[in-house]
Subunit: 104 residues, 7 copies
């Protein structure tokens, strides 16, 4: 058995923890309560180094640690970590968009 602590995704993979949007705001987004599988928002926990393209260059991942992301309806692989919470792995080009607070 092996003790380990941190997942570093390979290629353009992104480790995401699903979250519920906090509250409805002016121009904001509110989703009804649902179970974690149905949530389609998440926080980026860690990202891979990027994807090698055919011309030999590394294309960096489109999102960064801490980003709030809009996830696609299907896809993503569930990963179970020690804190009994579900994490999900996505390819960065499957992530739909990022969410931003316009007041900041």
């Amino acid at each position: 058995m092996i003790a380990f602590h941190k997942i570093r995704p390979l290629m353009n993979r992104v480790l995401v923890k699903k979250v519920e949007p906090l509250t409805k705001t002016k121009g904001g987004i509110l989703l009804p309560e649902s179970n974690k599988d149905q949530l389609n928002f998440g926080t980026v926990i860690s990202v891979g180094p990027g994807r090698h393209q055919e011309n030999g260059q590394l294309r960096p991942v489109f999102v960064k640690e801490g980003d709030t992301v809009l996830l696609p309806e299907y896809g993503g692989s569930k990963v179970t970590l020690a804190d009994n919470q579900d994490y999900y792995i996505y390819r960065d080009d499957d992530i739909v968009g990022t969410l931003h607070d316009p007041t900041k």
Copy 2:
């Protein structure tokens, strides 16, 4: 829970709000009233940065914020925002065309 306000699409994705064409004009376009799912016109709310091509260059998105677009019959992912209106995400190369007022 997280409060957020604005969706910034990734890659060549386009956030669209479906609209009904206003009126029949000379050489204009008139669609019968229908529910939002069946509408195939929309206004572009926001666009992603573009798509990385194999030669390493970023190809910008074909449409811009505010454009009225003709949408394909199938495709597009519905996104629910806080204003209880449906938005849709398309890849820009799935959008059929843009609509223009020739009098301007």
Copy 3:
């Protein structure tokens, strides 16, 4: 609702209005009368800017406004405009050929 007047196709799309060939001529082409869906000739109404290739260059559309085109048996998306006539959208590389009057 929004009033608009002109469709500008994106990428290498072509907006086509289906037509019947006029008459049988020496070496000409005559098609039996049929409904618009079955017609496989059309006039090009407008064309997109072209298709971006992997080397970053824009390849222009193969046909131009006013061309009479031979359409494939299958494919093309119907678009309804305000004049109650059906228009069709094709990718230019799906169009079979162009028709020409050899006397000109």
Copy 4:
């Protein structure tokens, strides 16, 4: 209605009229009589300009007007012209080979 006289294929398409081989000769080829759909020889009537490759160059069509060609068993789109004879459109890379008279 529109009068037109000549089909100019787009891209690497080839307009072919199916023919029966004339006679059995020394080292020649003889096919039994059959209906036009089953014939797999043809004469090239006209050819398109060629196919754009990913490096931006135009690759010319492999056959030319007047060539006798061996056609594949499946494929090709029938086109009806005013002389009540059937023509067929093929992509040039679907054409199997060309036939030549070794005495010339």
Copy 5:
């Protein structure tokens, strides 16, 4: 009707006449008698000019006239010539290998 005498394959196609291996030799190959369809050895009758690659270069055909070739179990299109023998067309990259007499 048209008299013709010789098939010149297009692209990287190869015209093959199926043959039976002659006899068992030391280190040689012997196949049981079978009908022509089941034979998987052949003699190359003629070859095309090669295949255009994406970089614009022509890659010559891997085999040459007169080669004895090992054919794949499936694939190949039958062509009937005037000598009432069956010929087969293969793409050169579907041909498995060539056979050689090590004593020469």
Copy 6:
């Protein structure tokens, strides 16, 4: 029969021995006991030289001998070695991520 001792994977293949995570730690990962087929963590035993890309360059393998890797739910080919333990072969781009001890 042949005696051999070491498998050196070809291309970007990776030879993996599945392992169970040791213990739950702060921020660590704990998986319930399961049979080897269901385990999705492993130790890299050996890796191939990498994958040749279309531009002719060799892209090295993303993981190295000794790495603890998170494996995908599906995929991987079982290989039985003399020590009666199961090994698995993966393509490196199918491996989800690597696990790291943040205290080191």
Copy 7:
């Protein structure tokens, strides 16, 4: 009929004779006896020249004559030679790995 003696594979094909591993050694590999179809180890008899890549270069075959190779569970085409033993043709990128004696 034609006498021939040696198969020279085309492209990146590899001619393999399946073998059983000899014996269990320290860190070695032992497979239970099985019929030839189920064996997944083999000796390389001959290899092709390599595979042409899109940039025009020839990528040599990954294995060489005499190598002991680990074969994939599925794939490979059986070829019957005159010595009544079965040979198999694989593409080199389908071969899983090579086996080596670490004492040498």
